[in-house]
């Protein structure tokens, strides 16, 4: 009899940071994972309420704690938003297939995020920054509906300072916003990268992903190098519950990060095409 | 083909040819039994049948077809459920054409693994008081007697309700087959686990079944769709019948009998017990 894969390990919330009006970043300690790939996710349990998958948004090199940015959506997320520092939650994971970090060495990297979709990409960015010298250009194109919905606002500047080209845009401007206005596809052309070779990682709402993929191909990025995180909710995270089974693929096992060609064979509904 | 079927088909053909309706809900043969079918072209009307195997209540589909003009083949109880749906604001009487079929009762459907060989008249049909729909745009007379049971098995085995409830799989077939169980977030489904948890079976089946009974009290038209759909054959309609009786005794009210009759306010007419 194996270990119980359904039972989470307890961890404490050591820090809570407000990101946007409906999103908070929770820092959990201890880090009960031996390691993970950016883009992987964990199942978080609010004891007595329920469990839901969340992308790990902290750096894999951070051995002390795990971070999750969580948007208030329903039962579980609402309860976790009511948590205070010191509260206990359950963690299982890491699950799924993350970003293709092995393929990134020496290449230009384009990271495209929308809204809370930046969470799994933050983990990647932090990972890349740790070994910045190993990669070519790194560009982040990030959009949100309004400036106040941009995630990690305090950090974005720091990323730029450490060698990331940052392009921000919002759908609707607010007072004091001087950046660009428009959906994220409008700024995709700005980064000047080696398009044929660059690895592209994207995550965001389904419609965004659809248009981003289309635009990326138009811009000349190679389909071989385009990846997106397609996140469908699930119950077990280990390929048993059937909830995230699309086509022949399980999001929890074969995803959430899919390569462009894999996505084309996914059934409608989840497929961005 | 019976005379009634012939008549039914000609009515439906006419409705479709004249484009009075976009589609007609009826029944078709399917193996040994009968199932619902959706007819939208005049040439398809030959599929339509009408006999004592047509137990499903087609009114269950009406709500999902709200935006369209549909014709519906309706037994007496089905008609009553249409009345209730109209009264409860769920369908628009103006957009449906009711083809009432006179009904002498239906058989219980064949069930997988059943040891019964013959066919049984459904128990709820033995209690039926409305052989013809109270609302009708067309009426197909059937005539004749109630179908004979092919083997005489005693009525439903509703003695030990608790153990009947225990059998329930909570598959929700009863709910989904019922024309009047259209709520989207009923507390018995357990998605909001305040009253009933989704997965706590059989622990919470008592509350599940009694709550459903309470929700159906004074509304159930005793069409038996729930009972006949139930894979483990819990005689649900019997339970709901008792509650309808309470309404009848206290208010002289029976659901689905007339479009103009509002459900009685939930108070006793006279002072009541003190």
């Amino acid at each position: 009899m194996g270990l119980n894969p359904y039972a989470p390990k307890p961890a404490r919330i050591v820090r809570i940071r407000d990101e946007t009006p409906d999103t908070k970043t929770f820092t959990l300690s201890p880090n009960c994972f031996e390691g993970f790939t950016p883009g992987q996710f964990a199942m978080l349990t609010v004891y007595g309420v329920g469990e839901a998958p969340f992308s790990i948004c902290s750096s894999p090199l951070n051995k002390d704690c795990l971070q999750f940015s969580i948007r208030r959506m329903g039962r579980v997320t609402r309860m976790i938003h009511e948590a205070r520092v010191g509260d206990e939650v359950g963690v299982r994971g890491p699950y799924g297939r993350g970003w293709p970090v092995d393929r990134m060495k020496g290449r230009d990297i384009l990271i495209v995020g929308g809204g809370i979709g930046l969470a799994p990409l933050r983990s990647l960015v932090l990972h890349l920054l740790e070994g910045r010298e190993n990669y070519g250009e790194i560009a982040v194109c990030y959009g949100a509906r309004t400036p106040s919905l941009l995630m990690y606002r305090d950090e974005l500047g720091e990323w730029a300072g450490r060698g990331v080209k940052l392009y921000l845009t919002v759908d609707v401007g607010e007072e004091g916003w001087e950046g660009s206005v428009g959906v994220v596809t409008t700024i995709l052309g700005k980064p000047e990268l080696d398009k044929a070779d660059a690895i592209v990682c994207t995550c965001g709402p389904p419609v965004m992903i659809r248009f981003v993929l289309r635009r990326l191909v138009e811009l000349g990025y190679s389909k071989e190098n385009i990846y997106a995180s397609l996140e469908s909710r699930m119950r077990c995270g280990i390929g048993k519950c059937g909830h995230c089974h699309f086509g022949g693929k399980h999001v929890c096992l074969d995803g959430p990060v899919f390569q462009y060609r894999e996505m084309t064979s996914l059934p409608k509904g989840i497929s961005p095409f | 083909m019976s005379r009634a079927e012939e008549e039914l088909r000609s009515i439906v053909r006419k409705l479709l040819e004249r484009k009075d309706v976009e589609l007609v809900l009826g029944y078709e043969y399917y193996g040994r039994s009968v199932r619902p079918c959706f007819v939208s072209k005049p040439e398809e009307v030959e599929r339509l049948v009408w006999n004592s195997d047509c137990w499903f209540n087609l009114a269950t589909y009406l709500r999902s077809l709200r935006s369209r003009r549909v014709g519906i083949v309706a037994k007496g109880c089905d008609g009553r459920s249409i009345v209730e749906l109209v009264k409860e604001n769920q369908v628009d009487r103006g957009s449906i054409v009711v083809i009432a079929v006179e009904c002498n009762g239906v058989f219980k459907p064949f069930k997988y693994g059943s040891t019964h060989v013959g066919r049984r008249l459904a128990d709820y049909c033995r209690r039926c008081v409305t052989r013809v729909s109270p609302v009708a745009d067309y009426l197909v007379k059937k005539g004749g007697q109630a179908p004979e049971d092919e083997n005489t098995v005693a009525g439903d085995n509703a003695s030990d309700w608790l153990s009947l409830f225990r059998k329930c799989l909570k598959c929700m077939a009863c709910v989904k087959a019922c024309p009047l169980c259209y709520c989207t977030e009923c507390s018995i489904e357990g998605f909001k686990p305040d009253l009933v948890h989704r997965l706590r079976v059989p622990q919470e089946l008592f509350t599940f079944h009694l709550t459903r009974a309470l929700h159906m009290a004074g509304r159930c038209v005793e069409c038996g769709a729930c009972e006949s759909a139930c894979p483990v054959e819990i005689p649900l309609t019997r339970l709901y019948h008792e509650l309808n009786e309470w309404f009848r005794e206290n208010y002289g009210y029976a659901p689905g009998m007339s479009l103009s009759e509002a459900p009685p306010p939930l108070v006793f007419k006279e002072g009541g017990e003190d």
């Binding site: - | 769920q90 989207t184 977030e185 305040d194 939930l266």
Partner: protein, 633 residues
Amino acid sequence: MRRVTIVLCTCYSTLLGEIDFERLRSFFSDSPLVEKILVSDRLCEKNVFENLGLDDDRVVVAACSTRLLEAVFKGSGGFNGLVEFVNIREQCAKACGNREEATWKAIRLVKGAVQKALHAEPLSTEGLKIVKEALVIGGGIAGVRCALDIADAGYRVYLVEKEPSIGGVMAQLDKTFPTLDCSICIEGPLLSEAGRNRNITIIPNAEVVEVKGVVGDFKVRIRVNPTYVDPDKCNGCGECVNVCPVYQPNKYDADLKPVKAIYCPFAQAVPLKYVINRDYCVECGLCMKACTRAAINLEDKPKTVELNVGAIVVAVGSDLFDPRLKPEYHYGEYENVITNMEFERIICASGPTGGILLKRDGKPAKRVAFIQCVGSRESGAGIEECSYYCCAASMKEARLILEHDREARVFIFYNELRAFGKGWEDLLYRRCLEDGVVFIRSRPSEIRRTGDGSLLIVYEDTLTGSRGELEVDMVVLALGFKPSSRMIELAERLGVTVDKHGFIEEAHAKMRPLETRVRGIFVAGTCHGPRDIVESAVEGSGAAALVTSLFGRSSLRLPEYARVSLEKCTGCGRCLASCEYGAIVREGDKVRVLESVCNGCGSCLAACPQEAITLGNWGLEQLSPMVSAMLED
């Protein structure tokens, strides 16, 4: 994660002997649902609870009588719905046989309350705004008294009257019982005071067409009917009247005395402005020429006035029973069968006959009979109840006849003579007897006309059992009050209910006699049942007091009312039949709760299968875990 703080109170240590607080404490200190446990010995004292610093927490207070404590907490403001109360004094310490049982029970009850607090949703503590202006509908004595009292308290009042002048029935009366003082003489000054008062805006010729909103903030739409005379320009000189060629019956004079098509209903009218009755006007334009101030505009159109008020008083009075519905009395056919309102005008010095009791043929009426209870105290067309004022009114009118003419013979056909008011026995009944008024206990079966045109009353004296016939010159029918269908229409617009007769219904006949079921809408005068001037005035003042007491508050919180989630509601209407207050109405394909009508009984919650309705923290969401926890082993 949600957790609950438990506050235990030992009630000045008196409960220590009866409940094992240590056990209680240790039981819950083990629970992961409990944040902390605090013990106090005097929670009910001022500021003790506040000083615990539990403002945003979910709290279970286990202490004495919930009623008592809750009042203390609610008084301290900011009642956010996250505090649960358990009565461990009366329900555990005092109700159980021994300490162990009491402790066991206390644990159960607290367990339940913990679950309830855990599932509670914070309630909004925001107050409603209160627009400190009032609307009074109807300018009879009740409405005028009310408007004056509100205005005197310093608030603006809009007084909407459907007729050209305020005054109501009282302005039409000759004298008032029991003192027989001149009606318009005592009402007139009030009317002109209302006209002068800076805080009162009289809107005559107007009707309320729509009311929306809640107590403190009603939006009211009023239609002002055209009068064809600009009230701002008209100074009441009356030049126009002189030139107007057409006459019309004057409603004020019970249609007995003609006035011109451009007219002012009576001399003391407020506002004293002329108006044109377009039903009679022939559009000759003579008045336009005569008016030096160019006030007349035959193109006048209805206008709409929008008001935003915090409270509404309904004082629209009531109509009188239509005597034609009793054909045996031949009203409208025999011209000397008149109503008591007509009588009031005839006997009035300013009335059509200058105060002399004349028959239609101009001859004096020497023998006058009153028939009581026409349209009251009988089933059928009228109301079953006593109409309150008519016995007194008829006795008053009898005395007026005899004051005018000592020789006259007056008969009163009564069923029961009711003289219950202050001074009625003395000033009305005894005086009538002394003056020789004949009281006959009977409801006459028929009035016939004799050859010479006098009237023959056929009756059976129910005291003696004998049948009789009485010949008189004039019969006055004492009409009961009977609300008109227009009033019922108005009630619907306001969202208030009417009783089986059509009178406006009080929130509670005894305890809230001047309130309607809609919070912020009050009622005064005969529109909610028969009464006399004194009571109408008393009620006007009473309603004014309620309005000013409402306006005196800085903010207002409606008691918790049912809220429908439109997302969830399927519009099935099952809640409708469950609401005893009729507070739920269909709106589109969903339903809406009238916030000001809802009494917060929660009946609809229990009826809605979708759990689409919430009311405070009384849903299944809170109660079901609570009950389960109490029963859990």
